[in-house]
Amino acid sequence: MNLLYQIFVDPFVQMGASPDLLVQTLWEGLVGGVLYSLIALGFVLIFKASGVFNFAQGIMMVFAALTLVGFYEKGVPAPLALLLAIGVMYLLALGVERIVLRPLVNQPDIMLFMATFGLTYILIGAGELVFGGDPKEMPVAALGLPKGAIDLKILGGLVSLQKIDIAAAVIASAMVAGLALFFQKTRIGRALRAVADDHQAALSVGISLNQIWVIVWFTAGIVALATGIMWGARSDVSFALQVISLKALPVLILGGFTSVPGAIIGGLIIGIGEKLGEFYWGPLVGGGIESWLAYVIALAFLLFKPEGLFGEKIIERI
């Protein structure tokens, strides 16, 4: 009885008693969720266009951020370092398409999936070899990002909003809007959607799959860079961030592998859900449930909607 009280009543009593804490938790979950959404967005872009489940998206994020910080620490001015990092992501996209995707075209999905695993290992090895394994600090000020916190006095308490988090939310929204415009209005965006719809039909109207793949991986690389900067500004840039990127996976199954809005809404649900769960229900079982709660939330959703919230309906034929 006591246990039931602790599970079903007590957390809500706490929420009601100190709404400022609730708002703070919600905000932190929201920001975490935005960043999960961004990682998931990179996955979705690549999965839609090439059917590759790109496990390396998380490490691409770390690698992009590391490149940026690495250049900056070598004395390159921050805006130039940003451009150079974008250039490196382009080269990466080019290399991936030429060396990995092209020879593996038409292989079963799991092979491509494994190839991105190999890519993950290469990027970890190369990144640590070139930039060293120790955590680095993201040059937040040099990139023109705000620092510090805004303290709001609401609901009888203090809610502290990090400026960088607000910036992250704004940049993420801008990026999603930009991508939506890019997909809807430009020639390349239309080609990308065509490829996502049907590879062969796209080929037959003269769209070059190889080019599209480079573009898509490059776009995912830029998304990764932006995500890397945001995560890097919240904590240091190191390969430990890669573990965080695994959190984007439940976001994906929640939102569906092929849906951009799904990635965003899924990210927010997971981010807020796991922060609330950790804060209010975590102490019941000794804390640390953040590591798996996201998966359980996603699993619970999957049992009712196996294709995710916005995924394409799975139609099975013999």
Partner: protein, 358 residues
């Protein structure tokens, strides 16, 4: 020339359905077993036995388990490391609760515990498919790993949070713990792996294995043909987790001697996945090839520069290992997407027609 089955007539159905219908295969298997049981103990040094052969065999067993799930039934799982952990922790709990019972019994029993946990986490597989399932199995990975850290009962509230293996004897000879010789441990591991491989081979060649393969090739079609999907898939999860559990118990008790929860983290699951894919999906011998390649490769990368007289730091060597492993994974996928087992088949075919081109 050396490998020709011409003239080997089968006079009964049993002979025709034998797992090794070709005489040369039987001779080859006998040779491999002879090398494993007699040759390696005679020739191999301490390092060879303790750091190469024992881990190789244990990882190969885990890879067989995963291969049953992915290669034979087509269910992708990223939770094998955690199931190995379940086996290890179950074995630790069982041996500390009932220290009088033979350790081999507990190693097998811990496989059964892992089996039960595997069935629970296999339940979503009926509704979820492909990569969605792969991510769903990550739930098992993270949840179980969290249990290993947070549930003190599992490691007897040991302040270090690790499990340590006490000495256990079989016929008066210590086989686990600090006093066990690598050679005795090797023989125990080898014995278990051989028996379980033989069992797996019978399983996948029989009715159950055929059911699994039908489910893998197309589960709806399999269902229409009268295969009940839920039992078939859950059985695959059960058998796979059983193998992983036994491998995990052996990993702690016969190889490492002690383990922390970190030993069963997600990287372990990924490494096993590599072994299965590079070795060859749906091939038992491929699991051994994959385990050999993935386990021995880093050892070579680590020792080769020293042998060549190059001086590189251990950190650099570590990074190079990552780089080279990644590159080789991609290389093997491109060159031979069907895995090393396919190369093995090609080699056999070449031997069959040699010295003629075809």
């Amino acid at each position: 020339m050396f490998y020709r089955e011409v003239g080997q007539f089968k006079t009964s159905y049993a002979a025709d359905q034998a797992i090794f219908p070709i005489r040369q295969d039987r001779i080859g298997l006998a040779l491999i077993l002879a090398v494993a049981f007699i040759g390696i103990p005679l020739v191999g040094g301490e390092f060879m036995i303790a750091s190469v052969m024992i881990p190789f065999l244990i990882l190969a067993l885990a890879a067989i388990g995963l291969n049953i799930l992915i290669g034979y039934t087509g269910l992708i799982s990223l939770g094998t490391g955690a199931f190995m952990g379940v086996g290890a922790y179950a074995c630790y709990k069982l041996t500390t609760l009932f220290p009088g019972v033979n350790i081999i019994v507990w190693i097998v029993a811990s496989g059964l515990v892992s089996c039960a946990v595997g069935v629970v986490f296999g339940l979503p597989s009926l509704r979820i498919k492909g990569f969605y399932l792969a991510i769903a199995t990550l739930a098992a990975q993270f949840f179980l790993q969290w249990c290993f850290v947070r549930v003190g009962w599992l490691y007897n509230y040991n302040p270090s949070g690790a499990i340590e293996v006490p000495v256990h004897t079989l016929f008066g000879i210590p086989i686990t713990g600090a006093t066990a010789k690598p050679l005795t441990r090797y023989f125990v591991v080898l014995g278990i792996v051989v028996v379980m491989t033989w069992f797996a081979s019978n399983l996948v060649h029989g009715r159950i294995g055929r059911n699994w393969m039908a489910v893998r090739d197309m589960d709806i079609a399999a269902q229409l043909m009268g295969i009940r999907l839920l039992p078939a898939k859950l059985l695959a999860f059960a058998v796979s987790s059983f193998y992983a559990g036994v491998a995990g118990a052996m990993m702690v008790f016969l190889w490492l001697g002690a383990a922390e929860p970190e030993a069963f983290n997600i990287n372990e699951s990924f490494v096993l996945l590599f072994m299965v894919i590079i070795g060859g999906l749906g091939s038992l011998i491929g699991s051994f090839f994959g385990a050999a390649l993935i386990h021995i490769l880093p050892i070579i990368v680590r020792t080769a520069p020293n042998a060549l007289g190059l001086k590189i730091g251990s950190a650099t060597a570590e990074h190079l290992t990552f780089l080279i492993t990644g590159a080789l994974i991609i290389f093997f996928l491109i060159v031979e997407p069907h895995g090393l087992a396919r190369l093995w088949q090609i080699a056999k075919q070449k031997l069959r027609v040699w010295p003629f081109p075809y």
